[in-house]
Point group: C2
Chain length 205, copies 2
DNA sequence: TATTATAACGACACTGGTGTCGTTATACAA
DNA sequence: TTGTATAACGACACCAGTGTCGTTATAATA
């Protein structure tokens, strides 16, 4: 139905598929979506889909890649400009601009958990997960370190450990957010308590 | 090959299967184990296995049931005898007798995460998960409440929220324990920091 | 010892998902 | 306008896993 198209067209098609696929994964989760689901959502034939992605794992990794690079570009220059409050910066990194832990939850998070947990015995997947974890907590560690050097935060605890704790906290919330009905979750209260905790650990204000 | 056997024999056979199945799930995870794997590990035929459990979900729930009732009986009477330190009690509830967060990690935890996360769109599974969550955090909430009434803990925060935070912390660790290679994990440091946090929140000592 | 209820068996049919491949239609280059 | 490279298609063969069911062997019973 269509041949020898411009690079641009190829990119767009690919992007369309990715977008559709992402929706499907969000709705159904990683394990329970099949290539057929994606085909239907993206209006591609089987053959068409496999032209772009050689299997479900490949497809999902492409989505992860996309998301990650989005986040990185979003966050990267915020440390380069001068910062008037590292605390505020840290808070927005954790909870997003609107400070709402709910809104900041990546809708793909549950699928990500699936992807990495069910794939935990696969070497490739493990390495991938490890890399993402490192990147993830470095995001926080950098802010904390900068804040410590600046004197805004106490040096009482290693920035590394605090950063890990933040990631861990978010992972914990992600699990519960994925599993539990919202009514019983009380994300806000838990987040507030966690913030108190960070204040103490960093001896802020 | 064998008929009309005593109830006892049936129970033992069932228990044997469960034990073998549990090992398989621990090793392979929930999603990637098949009934065939279990058959082989438990030395049962297909028909034999299906006589006891009507599918993988059923089988897994039986294992969960087992584990849960073990834990409950382990913990239930510790609050009835008088307690000289609720803090110590809380610590052993969280970290086990030997205070080693690593050892206290349920080897089935990763599979549990799989089970509940991949099943999050299934009504039945959701309800099941919810019930377990409630039971889980009540375990901590009760100790905290008792400690607060006793005056050992501060009333500054609601016991409920603190209990949830504990569960959340454990879930977070479980995720990372499942995914990441041990070398980069630093469970101990994270746990220690968390304990500091609890001390502050409960204003203990 | 003979009878019987049934635990255990394993072949089977079925399902759903995968990746491939030969074919078709067409955007671009000449 | 024609020729060609190839995007897109969908039928197909294949595989892995599931749950069932008729058969077989035997522990308990009388």
């Amino acid at each position: 139905m269509s041949p020898k198209v411009s690079k641009e067209h190829l990119k767009q098609r690919r992007a369309k598929i990715l977008e559709a696929a992402k929706e499907v994964f969000i709705k159904q989760g990683y394990e329970h979506t099949t290539m057929k689901h994606v085909m239907e959502a993206a209006n591609v034939s089987r053959g068409g889909l496999y032209q772009y992605f050689s299997n479900k794992e490949d497809l999902y990794e492409a989505i992860l890649e996309n998301n990650l690079s989005n986040e990185v570009t979003e966050n990267q220059d915020s440390l380069e400009n001068e910062v008037d409050s590292y605390w505020d910066l840290l808070m927005t990194r954790i909870f997003g601009d609107d400070m709402d832990p709910d809104d900041n939850m990546d809708p793909l998070a549950p699928s990500n958990l699936e992807f990495f947990i069910t794939g935990r015995n696969d070497e490739r997947r493990r390495m991938y997960g490890k890399a993402r974890y490192q990147d993830g907590y470095k995001l926080y560690a950098d802010v904390i370190k900068a804040g410590q050097q600046n004197g805004e935060f106490s040096l009482k605890y290693d920035s590394d450990i605090i950063a890990r704790t933040i990631v861990s906290f978010i992972d914990g919330l992600a699990v519960e957010h994925a599993i539990l009905p919202l009514e019983i979750l009380k994300m806000k209260e838990q987040s507030e308590l966690f913030v108190e905790y960070l204040k103490l650990a960093l001896e802020v204000k």
